[in-house]
């Protein structure tokens, strides 16, 4: 009974952790799906979002009410980064996007360290700090709010891509760039939009993560690494795949951390990545 309730607790924790990973991963997978770019600076976009949310919180707008503002700010940032930078990378050789976004990672981390130092910055008096008790289960409220946020965000993004005209254009570009151009779709505009929306997703994620995490210059690294694994697992470009992959990775990490050792918690995660890319490179739910 003891073991069973521990397991139930771990599963709940794993699912909630997985939802947080989904929150960070959906933006990455959208950008990848539309323009074949893995944004290695994705974690640094998250870091920027968290600092922005901290700044808003210091002005009196907490992480929850500040969320739309942060998302909008990141959207603008993403569009600018695409227009000024990523567009040029796409015109170069294929490895230019790897190097370019890697450079962006280094640049943003350096700027954060130079401006904000390595100190941890938290929102003052964040809401949802209690714990919810449901029978034998103890659930941190912040994790619950983050999880609900992840589900809402993923559903909204999925609906946008599936059911709106712009979403259809994005899928068209993802499928065949040249054919989409011939159909009168402005590929540059769709790319910029996708990059902006991907950044906005991370903006929302950063606001929610601030409920349970402080902001610091390298906060994004671990989340981004996990997001790469999640996105590969679910199939690069697949939004529902990212959700499934994230839940799987969340469970693996929490169970691995408990039953192996906290030091080894990432081992099953990375093993999962290697096994999936080697045996099923298109991911669990990916096509092609």
């Amino acid at each position: 009974m003891e073991a069973l309730s521990t397991f139930a607790q771990l599963v709940v924790a794993g699912v909630l952790t997985g939802l947080v990973f989904a929150l960070v991963s959906v933006g990455l997978t959208l950008v990848y799906g539309v323009m074949d770019v893995v944004n290695f600076a994705h974690g640094e976009f998250l870091m920027l979002a968290m600092y922005t949310a901290v700044g808003l919180a210091l002005l009196g707008v907490g992480p929850i009410f500040g969320l739309p503002v942060v998302a909008a700010a990141l959207f603008v940032f993403g569009v600018i980064v695409y227009r000024v930078f990523v567009r040029r990378l796409l015109a170069g050789p294929p490895e230019a996007t790897v190097f370019g976004t890697f450079g962006l990672l280094v640049l943003m981390q350096g700027l954060a360290q130079a401006i904000f130092t390595s100190d941890y910055r938290s929102a003052p008096n964040p809401p949802f700090q209690g714990t919810l008790h449901l029978g034998v289960l103890a659930i941190p409220q912040a994790a619950l709010v983050e999880g609900i946020g992840a589900i809402v965000l993923t559903a909204a993004l999925f609906a946008f891509v599936e059911f709106t005209e712009t979403g259809r254009a994005m899928r068209a570009v993802a499928e065949d760039r040249v054919a989409a151009t011939l159909m009168g779709i402005d590929v540059q505009r769709i790319n910029a939009l996708a990059f902006g929306i991907g950044a906005a997703c991370v903006g929302a994620a950063g606001s929610l993560l601030l409920l349970s995490n402080p902001a610091y210059p390298t906060v994004g690294v671990q989340y981004a690494l996990t997001a790469f694994v999640v996105v590969a697992l679910g199939g690069f470009g697949s939004i529902q795949g990212a959700l499934v992959g994230a839940l799987l990775i969340g469970l693996l990490e929490v169970l691995g951390g408990f039953y192996l050792s906290p030091e080894l918690k990432m081992v099953p995660v990375y093993l999962a990545y290697l096994i999936v890319v080697l045996l099923r490179p298109q991911g669990l739910l990916g096509r092609r």
Partner: protein, 331 residues
């Protein structure tokens, strides 16, 4: 090729003169660091530049040499044995991890290298044989037998020999079957496979060589700092630094890594002088901006762009990402 050899000869002479002529230990240490990073950058360049498989986990091969040296010394053996021992382990590790992963394209490979490096890191941290997270501290001795010196001159000399060897190997690579095959694979792997180039075989050879070179740099590092632990030789940040050096100077060129190492050392030193120890971050800003500008405007890096410019001046066909050298050879 002659120009490369002349340049290398000049650098070796200047380096040797500096090693004996300079008496500032700080300057000699900088020179040593430059040579070490140039070797690491070149090692990375073989697999990530010439072969086009961008590695973000290169620290594991560096760590092979560093751990080999520290562990052999701890067991009472000569650190010189770490060159063959580290090379063997690094080469095997490259073959074992490269066999399944080298066929992965683009970011799939890059992320796989991060995953492999993280697994190796976790393994070393949790294995008592490697002293886990504590690592190894080498006892202080002196002399050629112990490969430890009170004066930095001898470190610089050993590093210079290693640098010359690695550069020579790369100059040979540029004109060798392996070099042409790698660039052909990078330019268009399907077309290269169609003319009978076995991708896995040639990339494994390049990867193993790359690992062996990084391991040799690891041996020197361990004998200079006399301390080896997981974060200092195995961490993600070490791999990132190696990639940084490789990219800044220019990928797939003989001198790119050396230029990258020069910029790295100059910036690290310059920033530390200007802003003191608290300047952390400003150097990253400069590297980051540099890489962004290079990737956006000059994807072939500083040296690559110069090579292009000189070819253009000579009226030769501009190299289109490795495709041209193959054509040149056929002509």
């Amino acid at each position: 090729m002659r120009a490369h050899l002349l340049a290398l000869g000049a650098i070796v002479v200047v380096g040797a003169v500096a090693a004996f002529g300079l008496h500032s230990q700080v300057t000699l240490e900088l020179l040593f660091t430059f040579l070490l990073y140039a070797v690491l950058g070149q090692s990375w360049n073989w697999i990530s530049g010439y072969a086009g498989n961008v590695s973000f986990g290169h620290a594991i091969f560096f760590a092979c040499g560093a751990y080999a040296a520290a562990m052999l010394v701890a067991a009472g053996f000569s650190p010189w044995l770490a060159f063959p021992a580290g090379a063997l382990v690094a080469g095997l590790l490259a073959v074992i991890t490269g066999f399944p992963t080298l066929a992965l394209r683009g970011h799939y490979f890059s992320i796989a290298t991060i995953a492999v490096a993280a697994l190796v890191d976790a393994f070393v941290r949790t294995t008592p044989w490697f002293n886990g997270a504590n690592g190894f501290e080498e006892p202080i001795r002196n002399g050629w037998g112990a490969m430890q010196f009170a004066q930095k001159t001898n470190y610089v000399l050993i590093a210079l020999v290693l640098f010359a060897f690695v550069q020579l190997a790369t100059i040979v690579l540029e004109r060798s079957r392996l070099g042409y095959y790698l660039r052909a694979l990078r330019a268009n792997h399907a077309a290269a496979a169609a003319v009978g180039i076995d991708e896995r075989r040639w990339k494994l050879i390049a990867f193993a060589w790359s690992a062996v070179m990084a391991s040799a740099a690891g041996v020197l590092y361990a004998q200079d700092t006399l301390f080896v632990d997981p974060p200092s030789v195995l961490g993600l940040s070490v791999s990132i630094d190696i990639a940084l050096i490789g990219v800044v100077g220019g990928i797939g060129t003989v001198w790119g890594p050396a230029v990258g190492a020069l910029i790295y050392v100059a910036l690290a030193k310059g920033v530390a002088l200007q802003l003191g120890g608290t300047g952390k971050g400003y150097d990253l800003v400069i590297y980051g901006a540099l890489i962004c500008v290079i990737a956006a405007l000059r994807p072939r890096g500083i040296v690559g762009s110069l090579v292009d410019a000189s070819r253009r001046r000579r009226g030769a066909r501009i190299a289109n990402d490795g495709a041209a050298p193959v054509a040149e050879r056929a002509a």
